[in-house]
């Protein structure tokens, strides 16, 4: 099963199990089923709770807040995550604030789904990872889809938190296999974090990678190359929840690794990864072997032409180069 189908089934299941759930978004009626087909089949099964909307990102997210205030639960599909910017006020100044600004806790169970990322030639306004713009907003949680985390469990968790949540979904991931990883590697879930390591006993301490779900395949490709070409065995940690991100459980393993590298796909500068790196420096000062290495996409717009896009967007080669440089200088 593909990751996109897993997400589609999760939405089917959620709507079926919980009559208070709404799904709102542009072009999600059947037979079209959304720009990336993630909402396929939903409108036919759940008319009245699966609503196609005008091009009105601000209003849709505002309406989701209204549903949540009134006791329902809302899932919004932003067609391209880039357009979450049009709902920034509703997300940052209303939905997230409302959780606590009235002096008592107001439950706001809502999820804003953001198909994100490049490597598809969609150009500067349809390819971004906007995570960094939403890091550190009180009341707001950030999650990222991964090939390891069942989307139904993630959706249930987000709604149960009763806080507004953004779910970033790497568009390339939709068509990748769910739960599949390179044949040289094995993975398991340790709480919220998927841990991917060489399928060999006691291997994987040469370096540690931390990456969101959308980067997982690029990270594993880099790890495979590092293993085969340089005999370096590392471990990859893929959290489902990006923010707030509790690193406590990872500290023993990270402190013992030869290198910690955080790999993310947003443009460099003021990023989720730099937040994680700062946290690790503080918590692991004294046991880190080297400074935490951070790799992001370039600090630039994402060009449309594939040969230019490749140079800007984080690739597996970016990760392996960073690990090698850090370990071998």
């Amino acid at each position: 099963m593909r990751v996109g189908e897993n997400l589609n089934q999760a939405l089917h299941g959620l709507l079926g199990d919980d009559p208070s759930v709404y799904v709102l978004g542009e072009d999600l009626l059947d037979p079209y089923g959304g720009a990336f087909k993630i909402t396929r089949g939903l409108s036919a099964r759940f008319p009245g709770r699966v609503l196609t909307t005008p091009l009105s990102e601000g209003a849709i997210v505002g309406a989701a807040s209204g549903l949540a205030l009134a006791g329902d639960k809302a899932i919004v599909e932003i067609m391209f995550g880039d357009f979450a910017a049009l709902a920034f006020d509703q997300i940052v100044n209303f939905a997230s604030k409302s959780v606590s600004m009235y002096g008592h806790r107001v439950p706001m169970p809502m999820v804003i789904r953001c198909p994100s990322g490049g490597n598809r030639g969609y150009g500067p306004t349809h390819s971004q990872n906007l995570q960094k713009h939403f890091v550190g907003v009180p009341g707001l949680s950030l999650f990222e889809m991964s090939p390891f985390h069942d989307n139904r469990a993630v959706l249930d968790r987000m709604l149960a938190s009763a806080r507004p949540c953004l779910l970033f979904e790497d568009k390339v991931l939709y068509t990748r296999g769910m739960y599949e990883v390179d044949d040289l590697f094995a993975w398991e879930l340790a709480g919220d974090v998927a841990v991917v390591r060489p399928d060999l006993p006691a291997a994987g301490a040469d370096y540690a990678l931390i990456a969101p779900g959308g980067v997982a395949h690029r990270a594993v490709a880099a790890m495979r190359w590092l293993l085969l070409e340089h005999d370096l065995a590392g471990t990859l940690y893929v959290p489902s929840q990006l923010y707030p991100f509790d690193v406590s459980g990872l500290l023993p393993a990270l402190g013992a690794a030869g290198l910690v590298c955080v790999a993310e796909d947003g443009s460099a500068g003021g990023t989720w990864g730099s937040h994680v790196a700062a946290e690790l420096h503080t918590r692991l000062w004294g046991s880190l072997k080297r400074p935490v290495r951070l790799v992001s996409s370039a600090d630039g717009v994402i060009p449309t032409a594939p040969h230019l896009e490749r140079d800007v967007v984080l690739q597996d080669t970016t990760i392996r180069r960073a690990v090698l440089e850090a370990l071998h200088g």
Binding site: D27, A35, V301, L308
Partner: protein, 293 residues
């Protein structure tokens, strides 16, 4: 349908065949990403062409190839942009929906351009009286709040803003009935902004209707909304059309060809040769290079 000049028909068919070529290239896997063709709507920018001046600004949108080709006789540069080849209008960075050349600009985020055009119109009113800012938007884009904030400003400040609505009855996959309450006319009226609906595709007729109205925007600055009732014949982007073939609307070219078969055949053949030649030539170019980051 009135007979078109050879020049107008050549431009219309250049746009038509350029768009068809893009869809063919997509099918062959020679293009990536997304591209929105204006099949069926070619006559909108071609009609407006002689009504716009070189010092006017034009703001285009995702469905902008026709807008660009009606402004610049540069199919080579546009195709190079879409294919990421040398000679691309914007070095292959912007691609199909993010173009800037002189006073022409497009952006892929719906609703963004109207407030920007309002600011440009504010500048023009003072620095180049008589010039205007023209913005193309689809009917679906009237869902965005920024459209109304801009209309309010433009009317409040009496700015020379020409809003051209290509009302093709659909936004991506959503028919207008499912996304617009009321009407474009009613919305313009709410701001006290002039509105003209253009039915049909007779280029001479459209120019005659619109010439005095556009002139008025120049001489007595104030926004004007011109709404073309038009038809999107092709998919939203690439092959994503879920409409049955008989619900895709009427084709001006089928009607025109029936009325003027000799001229149509002659000019279509020439346009076809030109587009084929350009496509071959551009595909053979090296990749674009981008230096300014």
């Amino acid at each position: 349908m009135n007979r078109l000049t050879d020049e107008d028909l050549a431009l219309l068919l250049l746009i038509r065949l350029f768009e068809r070529k893009l869809l063919a290239l997509f099918e062959r896997g020679a293009l990536n990403g997304t591209t929105h063709t204006c099949l069926g709507q070619e006559y909108v920018p071609v009609s407006l062409r002689p009504l716009l001046r070189a010092d006017d600004w034009v703001f285009s949108n995702h469905r902008g190839h026709g807008h660009y080709l009606a402004r610049f006789d540069d199919p080579d540069g546009l195709l190079a942009e879409i294919m990421g080849r040398k000679g691309a209008v914007c070095d292959g960075v912007g691609g199909s929906q993010h173009l800037k050349r002189d006073r022409y600009l497009s952006t892929g985020v719906q609703g963004q351009s109207l407030p920007v055009a309002t600011g440009v119109a504010l500048n023009l009113k003072r620095t180049a009286p008589g010039a205007l800012a023209c913005v193309y938007v689809g009917d679906g884009t009237w869902g965005e709040g920024a459209v109304y904030e801009a209309l309010n400003l433009a009317q409040l400040w009496r700015l020379p803003l020409l809003v051209v609505v290509e009302h093709n009855g659909i936004a991506q996959s959503t028919p207008t009935e499912l996304q617009m309450a009321g009407s474009v006319a009613g919305r313009a009226a709410a701001f006290g902004i002039g509105h003209r609906r253009v039915e049909g595709w007779d280029v001479a007729d459209i120019r005659q209707q619109l010439a005095p109205l556009v002139e008025h925007v120049r001489t007595e600055p104030a926004p004007l909304v011109v709404e073309f009732a038009t038809h999107r014949l092709g998919p939203h982007s690439k092959g994503d059309d879920t409409r049955p073939a008989d619900r895709r609307g009427k084709d001006w070219y089928a009607a025109y060809r029936a009325a003027h078969p000799g001229q149509a055949a002659r000019i279509e053949a020439a346009a076809g040769e030109r587009v084929d030649r350009i496509a071959e030539e551009v595909a053979a170019r090296p990749p674009s290079t981008w230096t300014a980051t």
